[in-house]
Amino acid sequence: MAIEVRIPTILRQYTGGAKAVEGVGDTLAAVIDDLELRHPGLRNRLVEGEGLRRFVNVYLNDEDVRFLEGLKTPVSDGDSVTVLPAVAGGDSAGGSASE
């Protein structure tokens, strides 16, 4: 199952500058593992421990995978995955967000 994965500017250092790469797998986790074979270091920017990193948004077609099954979200041939680093920050007095 070929899945297109769109890569944000800040992660293109792992893909030789490519804006989109292709991976295979039947879940998001499998696709990321597959991409890691050809683009070492990419997985670590997306995954922390057992789940996706907090401030990285991953979308399957038009949905945020946080509202699906996260890394376990099933994917199908022709699906498109988009990665965008979250845009966030705060006041120096504030510290981290509630989540």
Binding site: I10, N57, Y59, T82, G89, G90, S92, S98
Partner: protein
């Protein structure tokens, strides 16, 4: 240096004031590689917090796709601080992920005087830059 039209600055400041005491946030898009901020896109602060901001993830997807379709990129990413100075905080620096954007921070801590400053944030380093406001009579 950030070069930006006065009307855009006024709109950004108005947005920050409107959302005070929550942090306001948004983007000014412009043609890829142009370094010209043209199109204001105020964003909702999904955190609705006086000390933190975050773009709603689905709104961000829509805006980023729209910019892609129009051959634009985020030239300015702005947000406001409501009780502290207009300087990137540790979290601002930690989460900055667009190395070519101008990070504009506005402070609304003083109701009579809004501070607006611009910075480059790349590889964890903050560099302040001058702001040239164009079109002001």
């Amino acid at each position: 240096m950030l070069s930006i039209g006065s009307e855009l600055v006024d709109q950004i400041v108005a947005h920050a004031r409107r959302d005070h005491p929550d942090e306001a946030c948004g983007v000014v898009a412009g043609p890829v590689g142009s370094d010209r901020p043209i199109r204001l896109v105020p964003m909702a602060n999904a955190e609705r917090s006086p000390t933190f901001y975050r773009f709603d993830s689905l709104e961000q997807l829509a805006v980023w796709r729209q910019m892609d379709e129009r051959d634009e990129e985020p030239i300015v990413i702005y947000h406001s601080h409501t009780a502290t100075e207009a300087y990137p905080s540790r979290t601002d620096v930690a989460y900055a992920a667009e190395p070519t954007a101008h990070y504009v921070v506005i402070s609304t801590r003083d109701p009579d005087h809004v501070e607006l400053r611009s910075f480059r944030i790349a590889d964890g380093e903050v560099t302040e830059e001058a702001v040239e406001i164009t079109g002001r009579e």
